[in-house]
Amino acid sequence: MKKYLCLGCGFSYDEARGLPEHGIAPGTRWADIPDDWVCPDCGTPKSGFEMVEIPYYSEARTA
């Protein structure tokens, strides 16, 4: 399960969490999101996201 960061605004997509409020179920792989999908906050195309390996603040606090 990977995370992706929108380079237009910083919105993060997490495969584990999905985006249920935008119709993307938890567990949805990045590769399975349509190529014409755009950032729900700023409209940046899917190609403008970058894979990141960064822990959540909440995880870092408890680690």
Binding site: L5, L7, S12, C42, T44, I54, P55, Y56, S58, A60
Partner: protein, 248 residues
Amino acid sequence: MSVRFILRAGERGYSYLPAAGLNASYVAGHPDGVITRHSSFNFHEYQSGIPGLGVMKVFGDETFTPNGTGYNMHPHHNFIIMAFVASGALTHINTIGKIDELKANDYYVFSAGSGGKHSELNIGDEDLQVIYVWVVPGQLLAPPSYRRSRFDPKAGANRITCLVGDEPGALPIGQTFTVSRLLSDGGKAHTYRPSKANGFYAFVLEGEADIAEATLTRRDSIALEGEDKIEIAVRANGTDMLLVETKL
């Protein structure tokens, strides 16, 4: 000595963002208001250049025309957004509850974290020149925060002053990333000592300086890596530079 790139002022991405027309919801202001943005790295519609350096993804050299030009309130997450005001006055409004005005030599660090909106406005009567830097954070969805500080051009002259980072007096951001300012008279030489593992980026706000056998003039920049000692030789008319160190 390893030069990653030299970026001349005219080689950067350029965006002309009028307040009227298609940008009207993005750019605030009367119909003649314009933001011009020179991007050192790929950003928004400019995607044919350099994709950042280390955790630094955006280095934007922006000018806002006076009397009410700026970015309307818009959302961010995660990015640590910094503004360094070079001239004019910046009004910053954010959803943490801060309404702030920054003038020349003032700077802020806005960490968008779990979500924050901001508006950036020039409501003054002269052009606003501001440098925006965006950094990928060390943790996702942290509590949003806003802090500001000021570079003192008298006390800080002729030496390298850390503005953002873990040094005393600077604003810490929880990331292997620093921004320093070098405001120097002509003819002087300065040494910056980065960690050899990090990348280094120098941007000339004003004046001229030589780094790694390259002469940099106004708004030129250079990136180096694998260095633990960088010599900056200031040319006769002096210089004003921002120096960035970032993990790679």
